[in-house]
Structures are given as C-alpha cells and as structure tokens.
C-alpha cells in the first residue's frame, strides 16, 4: 500500500511535469508567431501617413516629406528581371544534368556537395565575389548587370535544389515508358520530365527570387550607397534597390527618415507577399492537377 502511494505520488509529479512542459512547448511555438505579428504591426504603425502616391512616385530627397522610392523600385525590377533571366535556365539545366544525366557518378557527388555548401555561404561573401569579379575584373562597373549576375550566383544553389526535388518527383515509370517507345534522353527530358516538373520548378524559383530581392548586403557591396535621381534605362546603368534604400533611411539619425524606412518596408513586404502568393497558387493548382 505504501509502495503504491509512492508510485501514485511520483506518477502525479510526472504528469504535472509533462503538462507544464507541454504548455511551455506550445508557448515557444507561439513566440515565432507573436514576433511576426508585433513586427508587422510596428512597421505599419510607423508608416502611417507616409505611404502615399507621392512616396511611390518620387526620387530620394534630403527632405523626408518629399522623398520616395521610385528609383529603388525600378532598380529592384531591373535586377529581378535580369536575375530570373540568367538563373532560371542555368538552374534548370544543372538540375536536369544532375538528376537525368549523371546519376550516381563521382562528378555528381562532387557537384552536389559543392551546391549544398554554396547554399550556406553568407550573402555578403557573394557581394565580395561580385565586387572583385564583375565590378572590377570584368569592368562592368557598379551596374545593374553586375548586381544581377551576383544575385544569380547567390540564388542558383536554392533554385537548383528546388528544381531537383521537382524533377525527382516525376514518377520513374513515365520515363521508362518513353524510353521503351524509343525516345532519346533529351526527348524524355523535354517531353516527359519537364512538363511534369515545371510547376514545382517555378514555385521553387519564385521563392528563391523573393529571397534574393530582399537581400541588401551583397547589393551594397556592388552598388555602394548611391543617391540616385534617375531610373536605370540600360543594364550598364548605376542602380539602387529597395532594401538598400530602406537601409539608407534607417541609418539616418532623423526620425522622419525612419518613417520613410517603414513605408519602404511595407512596399517591399507587399512585393514579397505577392510573389509568395503566386508560388502558393501555382503549387495548389499543380497538386489539384496531379490528383485528378
């Protein structure tokens, strides 16, 4: 009887410990969500009254009331378009090579390890690479092109890994069926693998792009801190992008510029949210189609 009650007491303690810890785990999970909500509410509050049409259509200015992010927005569009243009074909090409042409070879293992490590290189190091290679050695200057090439190298590992997953999810039987009909490897890739994998590839690419356009560090190494009052019209023009413009405003001591930074952040988050929503819609449409 005495033993039994000791067990009962111990069991009670164990159950209470479990209950308390379970609650703590739940609270920890909420922490992330709370931080996100506080952050967004804070930025919104700071941007009130500053985010208007004039802000979107003006160039940066010394006076906070007259400043806007027109040049930064066009810079971001330019860089994004060129980066997508370069990184999409190269990323898919690499993924196809690794998944369809070089299975289990030593070369594949080398390239794969290499890509995994590149994905972990800090973004500022890509900035240094771009500065020494594109800006100086290839004499592209602090141009849109140099910025886009740098972001291309930075986002390639992410795009390749996403494209590989999409290609891997195409059932092997599809390929074998096509091979049995006498198709060559490229015919199988072009007509069977890519059409089935492209939604997944696009989703991964859009997510990688949305990460890339939020990056400030490598872009600062390429473009430095410029005060631009024109829209870039060629890939060789100087540029600034939204994250650099936001950083520029945050780092001023006057409070007025902080409001501009908050308004700029809202615009940047809106662009990112739109891209993410596009990726999710694409993913859902794709899932529905395969279920049918």
């Amino acid at each position: 009887m005495k033993n039994g009650s000791a067990f009962q007491r111990h069991l009670r303690i164990r159950q209470i410990t479990g209950y308390i810890n379970g609650t703590l785990f739940f609270l920890a999970t909420l922490t992330g969500i709370i931080v996100l909500i506080v952050l967004i509410v804070d930025v919104f509050k700071d941007s009130l009254g500053w985010l208007d049409w004039q802000f979107i259509t003006s160039y940066p200015s010394r006076k906070p009331q007259e400043a806007g992010l027109l040049s930064a927005m066009f810079g971001t569009l330019w860089v994004m378009a060129l980066t997508a243009l370069f990184s999409f074909p190269v990323g898919i090409g690499t993924a196809i090579y690794l998944e369809e042409y070089a299975p289990n070879s030593r070369l594949r293992r080398l390239i794969q390890t290499n890509i995994n490590n590149l994905a972990g290189v800090p973004s500022i190091v890509y900035g240094l690479l771009g500065l020494a290679l594109f800006v100086q050695a290839l004499a592209l200057g602090r141009s849109v092109l140099a910025g886009a090439l740098t972001l291309t190298l930075m986002s390639l590992p992410v795009i390749i890994i996403a494209a590989q997953e999409a290609i891997r999810s195409v059932p092997e039987s599809y390929r074998l069926g096509a091979f049995a009909l006498g198709a060559t490897r490229w015919q199988v890739v072009r007509n069977i693998v890519l059409p089935n994998a492209i939604p997944g590839i696009l989703t991964g690419t859009i997510l990688a792009m949305s990460r890339a356009i939020g990056e400030a560090a490598p872009m600062i190494a390429i473009s430095a801190l410029v005060y631009l009052t024109f829209i870039p019209v060629s890939p060789m023009d100087r540029f600034t992008v939204l994250p650099i413009q936001i950083f520029n405003w945050v780092s001023r001591p006057q409070e007025g510029f902080w409001h501009l930074a908050a308004a700029g952040i809202i615009v940047l988050l809106f662009v990112l949210l739109t891209m993410n929503a596009a990726a999710i819609i694409l993913r859902n449409r794709f899932q529905k189609r395969t279920e049918e």
Binding site: G22, G32, V35, Y97, N114, I124, V125, W186, A221, V250
Partner: protein, 311 residues
C-alpha cells in the same frame, strides 16, 4: 511528342542519317547541361581564388600573426592596427546571443509541432514560421533598432543605442524557423514503433518526446543548431543597422560592437579607393568569414552522416 511525329514524317530520309543527327544533338545538349552544372563548381573556385588573391594583397602589408593575434582593429584611423579579434569577438557575441534565443525556443517549437500538435494546428502554424523565415534581414534590423532597443533601454538604462543584445535577440528570432523546421524534420523521421514502445512502458508524452524521440533524432537536431549558428555568423544587415560600428573585444552585450560582416558593409558603403590596404581588408575578413561558415557547414553535414541512427 513532336519529335516522335517528325520521325514518321521524314520517312524519305535514311534512318541512319537521322540517327546520326539525333546522336549529335544529344551529345551537344549533354555538354550544354554539363556546362550549366559546372558553373556552380566555378563559383566555388571563383570565391576561393578571389578571396585568397585579394587577401594576399592585404597580407603583403600586414603580417598574418598581427591579423590573428592583434586585439585592436583600427584600419581607418592612425595609427592603423589590423588585429581581427575584436571583429571575431563581436561576431561570436551576437551569434551567441542569437543561438541562446533560437535553440531553446526553436527546439521546443519543433517538439510541439512533431509530438503534440494536431494536424490542423500544424497547418496553421507552419506557414507563419515560413513567413518569419522569409522576411528580409533589413526589416529585422529596422525592428531591432526602432522597436526592441527602446524597449530594452527601459530595462537597462545605461545601454548604448547600438548594442549587441538587441541585434542578437532579433537575429535569434530570425533563425527560430530554421532550428524548428530542421529539427522537426529529424523528429518526424523517428519511427512510430519507438514512440509506441515508450508509451507501452507507461511513459508520458513529455518523457517519450525527451527520452526517446530527441535522442533518436540527435544527429539532425545538432546539425540544425550548427547550421543556425553558421547562419547567425554570416548574418549582415541586422548587425549593421542595430549593433553599431565600434570594433571592441567585450563580452558585455549592452555595448556597441562590430561584426566581421558589418565591417565589410561599412567599407563597401564609402567608396574606398581600389588597391589600398583598407580596400583589401574586406577580402581578408571575408576569407576568414567564408572559412568559418564553411567549416560549420561541413561539420554539420559530417555530423548527420556520422551519428545518424539507421532504421
């Protein structure tokens, strides 16, 4: 299916010639794809060569011994000192604070999501964490400087405006999703039978989670923590905005410090003339940063392979 049809249409061509053409095309395409794949290899080689060559320009003027053992970093003032330790110290201080925030919270969230949460809760929570991970770091920097720092200064009145604590804590919040999602993946991969055996012995859910699931998933969890640390070491914008630009060897998180990444940005902002020692310093610091993060990434990959429980 176009090309299959073509084969039938051009029946006038000899089959041999057609086969030769298609073999040529296959070979060309394979080479093109290989070239794409090699770009990533050349990127790595490019990073190493450029950092080493430019850093060599720096080490011609400054001894390696001074770089690694000096305790003063004043490349922009006279007298110039090139001891990198204050930058490394600042980096480790902010990254350490970030890890202290992210590992307990991230692991607890992973346990909750993998062992406690219903499917419906998981479906609501995980997108939030994904969004948290996708917020640009310049936004986190703004948040640290304009929200968290004033808040913390109510608690620590003598805290400097630019300080390691605020930057480190926000950086910690940023890497929570990384710790939680990678650890959760490792825990979900633990087979059900192990949990059932624990429950069969009368263990509570908490005991199963901490004594069965976590030990079985330890390789993945440790790897996740190392990757998170590496991410914190390489993180740039938060520390540039909120942690200050005074290289200082200190353990006091209330002081202003400078990290390796923040130094690189500081020099990049001003247009330091190409070819001067000041210009080469950023490559020496970048090289050190690259090797630190590379070592951590390799260690985490090795750890997963070495200690993985096979089921």
């Amino acid at each position: 299916m176009d090309s299959a049809r073509t084969t039938v249409d051009v029946s006038s061509l000899s089959l041999g010639r057609l086969r030769k053409q298609s073999r040529l095309r296959e070979a060309v395409i394979q080479r093109l794809l290989l070239a794409c794949a090699l770009i990533s290899v050349f990127t790595t080689i490019g990073i190493v060569i450029i950092l080493v060559v430019q850093a060599a320009g720096f080490f011609r003027k400054v001894s390696i011994l001074e770089f690694f053992t000096g305790t003063q970093w004043t490349p922009l003032f006279q007298p110039q000192h090139f001891g990198v330790l204050p930058l490394v110290g600042g980096t480790l201080l902010t990254a350490g604070i970030a890890i202290l925030v992210a590992i307990p919270i991230g692991l607890a969230a992973a346990v909750y999501l993998s062992e406690y949460a219903q499917d419906r809760v998981r479906r609501i929570v995980k997108p939030f964490l994904e969004v948290l991970a996708g917020i640009p770091t310049v936004v986190y920097g703004y948040f640290a400087l304009t929200f968290l720092t004033p808040l913390l200064r109510n608690i620590f009145p003598d805290m400097i405006v630019f300080n390691a604590l605020s930057a480190g804590m926000v950086m910690g919040a940023m890497i929570i999703p990384m710790v939680s999602s990678l650890s959760e993946d490792a825990m979900v991969a633990v087979p059900r039978s192990l949990r059932d055996a624990g429950y069969g012995l009368g263990a509570t859910r908490f005991e199963v989670a901490t004594r069965v699931v976590m030990p079985a998933a330890v390789s993945g969890i440790v790897a996740a923590c190392i990757l998170a640390l590496s991410r914190a070491v390489g993180e740039t914008m938060i520390v540039v905005i909120a942690a200050g630009s005074t290289p200082k060897l200190t353990l006091n998180p209330l002081e202003s410090i400078q990290t390796m990444t923040a130094y690189i940005v500081q020099i990049s902002l001003g247009e330091t003339p190409h070819g001067t020692v000041e210009y080469y310093t950023i490559f020496a610091v970048g090289l050190l940063l690259f090797f630190m993060t590379l070592l951590m990434n390799l260690f985490s990959q090795w750890f997963v392979g070495r200690y993985r429980e096979k089921y």
